[in-house]
């Protein structure tokens, strides 16, 4: 277990370092003078000189990189060109929205996907399986931002059941907050739910035909116990991995979902930044996404080792 965690930790750290290098050079590949990009409103020669000194742009590259890492680690992502506010404070307001949206979407998608996947595997060859499979295929093929658009047009606007856009912080009014975020979360979760459903189903079909499930049946267990205690527990190992790998897709999805529902999150901030060539913001967004992905997947690995004793005890992944 300790060996497994150590390996994973060092691999994650390496990936983090590599992705920081990629972003560092990506920023240098931006068109124009990086100082210009970092300067914001004030572009006088003196200001640019000050920025070059502050960011060490006149230093050798390795040193620049070291300083860069130090700044990023301290949360100093520079100042938004557009608004002049520090990027870090923009993130503090935007991130909670995205995190709430994503967490809710993952929860919904997992509940729906695992449930439908188990159902499809257990009811193999019956109408329930066909329905579940069909829904998953559609969920996989539908552009979910389009679903969001339709939901706004035909659900929010037409019926007034859900607000079409806007956001209320959870601390201000939890009920209103949920009211605003539940529809976007459902929309964002559809694709993930479809993927989880298909993986769960296929993992369940494997474990349902496994020898240990045959043993469980031979013991006289009820089908329910066979399915939950034996088949599903083993299938969850696969499901957890899938959720981890899909986080990247979820982040992408969150960006467009926020854009559609006008949620003031990370995604909206990103898109605005791209159009305004707000490089410090873009850089922060890219770096933060990569970091979040790597860190979360490290925790997924931890979770993985909790579910699967083969990893917990020996450190050999199954």
């Amino acid at each position: 277990m300790a060996r497994y965690l150590l390996t994973r930790a060092w691999q994650s750290a390496l990936t983090l370092l590599l992705s920081t290098i990629v972003v560092f050079f990506g920023v240098r590949a931006l068109p124009g003078d990086p100082a210009l990009a970092l300067a914001g409103e004030d572009r006088s020669p003196e200001a640019l000189e000050a920025i070059r000194r502050h960011y060490g742009l006149d230093q050798p590259l390795p040193l620049q990189f070291a300083q860069y890492v130090e700044r990023m680690a301290q949360g100093d992502f520079g100042v938004s060109i557009r608004t002049g506010t520090p990027v870090s404070s923009m993130l503090t307001t935007a991130l909670p929205v995205t995190v709430e949206l994503s967490v809710l979407a993952i929860l919904l998608a997992t509940a729906l996907g695992v449930g439908a996947g188990v159902l499809a595997a257990v009811r193999r060859g019956r109408p329930a399986e066909w329905v579940a499979n069909g829904m998953a295929l559609i969920g996989l093929s539908v552009p979910h931002f389009w679903l969001g658009l339709l939901a706004i047009l035909y659900l929010s606007v037409a019926t007034g059941l859900f607000p079409a856009s806007g956001f209320v912080p959870i601390l201000e009014d939890p009920v209103d907050n949920l009211h605003h975020i539940v529809l976007p979360a459902v929309i964002l979760g559809t694709g993930l739910a479809a993927i989880i459903m298909r993986q769960t189903r296929s993992a369940m079909l494997d474990s349902l035909s496994s020898d240990y499930v045959r043993t469980a049946k031979a013991k006289g267990l009820r089908p329910r116990a066979v399915i939950t205690r034996h088949a599903l527990r083993n299938s969850l190992i696969v499901v957890v991995t899938v959720v981890g790998l899909q986080l990247g897709g979820l982040i992408s999805g969150a960006v467009v979902t926020e854009q559609i529902f006008g949620l003031p999150g990370f995604g909206k901030m990103t898109i605005d930044a791209v159009f305004q060539r707000d490089y410090p913001v873009i850089q922060a967004v890219v770096l933060l996404t990569a970091t979040a992905y790597i860190v979360i997947n490290f925790f997924v690995d931890l979770l993985y080792s909790v579910i699967d004793p083969r990893i917990r005890v020996t450190g050999d992944p199954a």
Binding site: D211, T215, K219, G220, R229, H230, N234, I307, P309, T314
Partner: protein, 353 residues
């Protein structure tokens, strides 16, 4: 003894714990029906160990699984399986669940994959006790330790919290046995319990099974394609070929003088009984077991049999007391062959113990 007296002696055997009569199983598949088992009958007396032998694909596992209704839903099953006189074929699932694990328990070939990798062995053994004996989780765990000791696992109190992957193959199979005997079943079905294990470990497992029979009086149906295992442990033998029972005999009789040509082939293809297989394959029977869609009115072994003639291909030989050269075989030694192997030099009565 006259023929009539012999027949009477057969009938006088105490009512068996398990009686399989005329069991047939087929599977509809994408490519056509597969007839896996055809008219199999066998008895298992209290405390008896019956060996079932035959090449791979002969229908041994399908027979075994159908006993407690464990075949997939697609299987078409006919015939009768009685446990202490109670019919099991066609019985409701809920009733069968009370039989499984409690009255009839199973051990499978692959101890590695037959145990759930994500549950401790204690949990897996305890689970049977929790459902059938309504034990608390705590009590079940304590009993699991006793059972592990019973099947010869050292420091059972520690092993009970291990996961399957932490145990060796032989240990895992002992865990399977502990799980199977947890509720003191009347019948234990062991489907190739030693095939995946190496020879020394195999001997240990067979010893555990013998002990269980001696101490608990469990009846055991042990399935194998290894005649060495049969010679080692079984009281009686049932030989299967392509879904049918082709010969049935007390173990010494079978080894002393096989009547069915298939049995003779098996015997010459395996090392001398008493010595374990696995050293070297001797004379293999040429050809392979056919997969049948319809059971023909013929001997299914005819394509591979050196003694086959037109009669063999035109009508199925019945399973009956074998007779060669006008002499009858020993009591209870049945074979389904039109031209049984020539009478051995030893007299049947002497060979029959």
């Amino acid at each position: 003894m006259t023929t009539a007296e012999r027949a009477g002696a057969v009938a006088a055997v105490a009512t068996p714990v398990l009686a399989v009569r005329d069991l047939s199983v087929s599977f509809p598949t994408e490519t056509g029906t597969v007839s896996a088992v055809d008219g199999v009958s066998l008895d298992l007396a209290s405390g008896e160990i019956v060996g079932m032998v035959g090449e791979s694909g002969c229908g041994k596992s399908v027979t075994a699984m159908s006993i407690a209704g464990l075949l997939p839903g697609s299987a078409r099953i006919s015939g009768s399986v009685r446990l202490d006189g109670t019919e099991l074929v066609g019985t409701r699932e809920s009733a069968l669940r009370r039989v499984r694990g409690k009255e009839i328990a199973y051990i499978f070939q692959e101890p590695m994959t037959s145990l759930n990798p994500v549950l401790t062995v204690g949990r897996q053994i305890g689970e049977v006790l929790q459902i059938h004996e309504r034990m608390s989780r705590r009590a079940a765990r304590a009993r699991a330790v006793e059972l592990l000791t019973l099947v010869g696992i050292p420091s059972a109190a520690k092993r009970v919290d291990n996961y399957p992957h932490q145990l060796s193959g032989g240990m895992r199979q002992r865990v399977m046995i502990a799980m199977a005997v947890a509720c003191g079943p009347k019948v234990l079905v062991a489907d190739e319990p030693t095939t995946a294990l190496d020879v020394t470990v195999q001997a240990g497992i067979l010893q555990v099974l013998r002990d269980l029979r001696d101490r608990l009086g469990t009846s055991i149906l042990i399935i194998t394609h290894d005649l060495g295992v049969i010679a080692d442990i079984a009281d009686r033998v049932v030989v299967m070929y392509a879904g049918r029972v082709v010969e049935r005999a007390p173990v010494t009789d079978l080894f002393a003088h096989p009547y069915h040509r298939y049995t003779a082939g098996l015997l010459s293809a395996s090392p001398t009984p008493g010595r374990h297989a696995g050293t070297e394959r001797l004379q293999e029977i040429p050809g392979l077991v056919p997969v049948l869609s319809v059971q023909p009115d013929a001997c299914t072994f005819a394509d591979r049999c050196p003694a086959a003639d037109a009669r063999c291909r035109e009508s199925a030989p019945p399973l009956e007391v074998a007779r060669t050269g006008g002499t009858l075989a020993a009591t209870g030694h049945l074979a389904a062959c039109w031209h049984p192997c020539p009478q051995p030099r030893t007299q049947p009565e002497e060979a029959n113990r």
